[in-house]
């Protein structure tokens, strides 16, 4: 029986942690939806579980995604997480090898060098000893990086780091203290017993020259145990709750759970998995271009976790999805924000009984929904009409005469019930038209039609529809050879995953130039309807920064596929901003006449070249 009084703080902390965790886990799991349990049941004994464990290893221990952000930042996270994990595992096996039995006292491997003070003689034990020292060295190097990062964030590729609360700082200090104290405890013991290895033994020998190690080593063992216990107790109340919760999150996510329109136990697990690493702060354009470093997801989730969330903070977000893309934990951050807005919404907020219910709608093949914002840049809907006419398809311009909103702006503001009224009204009309295809020009509407309308027909954004028409040879576009850059709208790109179709379309008739920040990394135009409380000045700062960025390569046109982006960037852009529908319509040729026109165009170009 190995025992000493100093193990009590550690054991007490550990037991408190386990009780609290069991209590919280059962609370969250009991809040899962019934459908979620069915998903878990059907996926439990499949390959998905193995993938989940692989992901846990890659993300929770190695921190692959953090490595992608910055190698040094990745090393810092890995050395702490993987290093500590290895200390536990190797320590366990060391104790197993030494005693010959697998089940020892829980704390025995952790304080192994205190309980076994006779110097080892067998090579295996010496190797164990050396590897434990090596791992400790790796962890300590990680802590050095972590401390330096507090003073020089730029070193790890971060411009801004999270401003932590007092509780988090205490937890952070206890975590940082654990490993230096372990080093001191082991070194001071090694100094008078000789059970250390290449790291602890020289330090111990050195300290032994001028310190009475036999009497002070006990102090360090106590402090080491206290630091461990303090950290264990702080876990459920601090950011370090992410350590146990992220494991559960990865498992559940691999089993097919995700956050939908309701805040469930799974959403709570997502919230608690936030490690407050602060990677979302740098990616947020409201910080990098708008100088607002208080509204980012890390602070939003923290305020929610401690019940301090205010509508002003919750409303102040573009919902562009850049943070969701960057989050190393993979939390669906935008949806979390929308769900919190839903919780804070007001009762009886909207009434749309005045909307007309059109029963006698002509049957058509294609329904075209321009969207509110397209009405403010009517060239887009005019171009689309021109294209429909060239294709000679029977179409219905659903919101030609006064538009009913698709409902997404209300949904993004949290008023789900109000949005449903609009959804129902539009849905009736779309179904009544008997169309097989719904084409929209607005990515905001597109996402809404796709996700909320439950339509049984094809829903296409025009950047999907137009390439289809061209490849089916229904319309023909004259090549222009103009230099164009493409700006990805948030709702179409990150929101709906449509990156390639508009690019392929543009490549057919323009000289599409690549950008350094494009596709999932593209900037938000700043006009987003997701943000309710941002003032116009700040909005303009983001719009201008994005416009400047897109103009940096001096393109002849900036192409986009969203009326909102067109208007936002257009205000500040040097190059004209065009929707891809406008570009297609402007270069449309009648089938059969293309050779004639092309010849004329080539002649013109040759003439210009000669000049």
């Amino acid at each position: 029986m190995h025992f000493n009084l100093f193990v009590i703080p550690f054991m007490a902390g550990m037991i408190a942690l386990l009780i609290l965790l069991a209590f919280r886990y059962s609370q969250w799991l009991s809040n899962l939806e019934t459908g979620d349990w069915r998903k878990i049941g059907s996926n439990l004994f499949t390959l998905k579980t193995i993938y989940a464990f692989r992901e846990i290893f890659m993300e929770s221990l190695i921190h692959r995604k953090v490595f992608k952000v910055n190698p040094l930042l990745g090393y810092m996270h890995m050395s702490l997480a993987f290093g500590w994990f290895m200390l536990i595992v190797v320590g366990k096996f060391e104790a197993f090898y030494y005693t010959g039995k697998f089940a020892n006292e829980f704390y025995y491997p952790i304080f192994f060098r205190f309980f076994e003070q006779t110097p080892h003689l067998s090579t295996t034990l010496l190797n164990f000893n050396a590897s434990m020292d090596l791992i400790l060295l790796v962890v300590l190097s990680g802590i050095v990086v972590a401390i330096l990062k507090r003073f020089r964030p730029g070193m790890t590729g971060m411009k801004k780091i999270t401003r932590h609360s007092v509780g988090d700082r205490l937890a952070l200090s206890s975590l940082w203290m654990i490993f230096p104290l372990r080093l001191l405890a082991e070194s001071t013991t090694a100094g008078f017993t000789g059970n250390g290895s290449f790291l602890t033994q020289p330090i111990g020998n050195f300290l032994n020259i001028f310190l009475p190690l036999q009497s002070i080593s006990m102090v360090f063992w106590w402090m080491y145990s206290l630091a461990l216990g303090a950290f264990m107790v702080s876990i459920p109340f601090s950011r370090y709750m992410h350590i146990p919760t992220e494991l559960l999150l990865i498992l559940l996510r691999n089993w097919g759970l995700k956050t939908n329109d309701n805040f469930t136990g799974f959403s709570e697990i997502e919230v608690q998995s936030c490690s407050r690493c602060g990677i979302c702060i740098d990616t947020c354009q409201m910080n990098s271009q708008g100088k607002n470093a208080t509204t980012q997801m890390v602070y939003f989730l923290r305020d929610y976790r401690y019940d301090q969330l205010k509508p002003d903070l919750s409303d102040n977000c573009l919902l562009c999805g850049r943070c969701t893309q960057a989050c190393p934990v993979g939390i669906d951050l935008t949806q979390q924000r929308v769900l919190q807005r839903k919780k804070m919404t007001f009762p009886q907020s909207a009434q749309f009984k005045y909307l007309p219910v059109n029963q006698d709608i002509d049957k058509t093949e294609v329904v075209y929904f321009a969207g509110c914002m397209s009405h403010l840049s009517p060239n887009i809907s005019l171009s689309m009409e021109k294209i429909f006419k060239a294709d000679s398809v029977k179409y219905l311009f659903m919101d030609r005469d006064g538009s009913v909103c698709c409902g997404r702006p209300l949904k993004l503001s949290g008023q789900f019930e109000a949005a449903k009224q609009l959804v129902e009204n539009n849905r009736q009309q779309i179904i009544a038209s008997g169309a097989k295809t719904l084409v929209t020009s607005c990515p905001i509407c597109y996402k809404s039609f796709k996700e909320d309308y439950n339509l049984k027909i094809r829903v296409l954004h025009h950047s999907e529809y137009l390439p289809e028409l061209i490849s089916q040879k229904k319309i023909k576009v004259l090549p222009t050879g103009k230099q164009v850059v493409f700006h990805d709208p948030c709702e179409l790109g990150r929101g709906s995953g449509i990156y390639e179709q508009p690019r392929n379309l543009l490549k057919k008739f323009t000289d599409l130039r690549p950008l350094s920040q494009e596709k999932s990394d593209s900037l938000c135009c700043g006009g987003s309807l997701g943000n309710l409380s941002m003032d116009t000045e700040e909005r303009c700062a983001i719009q201008k920064a994005t416009a400047d960025y897109l103009n940096s390569g001096n393109p002849e046109f900036i192409a986009t596929s969203c009326p909102m982006c067109k208007k936002s960037i257009g205000q500040f852009s040097v190059a004209p901003v065009k929707d891809i529908a406008e570009l297609v319509a402007a270069n449309l040729v009648k089938i059969g006449q293309e050779n004639h026109k092309l010849l004329k165009y080539r002649k013109l170009q040759d003439a210009m070249d000669i000049q």
Binding site: P311, D312, D315, F346, P347, Q348, S349, A350, Q351, F352, Y354, L355, P356, C372, M373, H375, L376, D401, G402, S403, V404, C405, G407, P409, L410, S413, Q415, L422, G527, L529, L532, S533, M534, D535, T536, E537, K567
Partner: protein, 112 residues
């Protein structure tokens, strides 16, 4: 007497002493741009809801600033929050946040 289609207007004066400025104060506190309105009516001209009903964002703004808030909850409930008014506003008023805060103020007075 025969109805001629004419009538005498009732006395029309703004009673600043008895009007209710609670909503006005609340909105101004949370969205200061609320008071920048010059009443140009661009918002009403572009409003999606105004196409179908007699909803009038300019009027709503004016009446709230005057403290004449009778029936305001039915009026503001017509807004679809589409954001067109915000794009056309020459004063750069954050109109959507104004609407949100009016609704918030109304729901607060319900709670009282």
């Amino acid at each position: 007497m025969k109805e001629w289609g004419y009538s005498i207007l009732k006395g029309r004066q703004i009673d600043f002493e008895n009007n209710d400025f609670s909503i006005s104060r609340f909105v101004e506190l949370h969205e200061p741009s609320f008071s920048w309105c010059i009443g140009c009516g661009s918002c009403t001209a572009t409003c999606s809801a105004a196409k179908f009903t007699d909803f009038n964002p300019r009027k709503v703004n004016l009446l709230i600033q005057r403290g004449e808030i009778k029936g305001i909850e039915d009026e503001i409930a017509k807004c679809m929050l589409c954001g067109k008014c915000q794009l056309v506003c020459p004063r750069g008023i954050n109109t959507r946040n104004v609407v949100q805060n009016i609704k918030r103020a109304i729901s607060k007075s319900y709670a009282l």
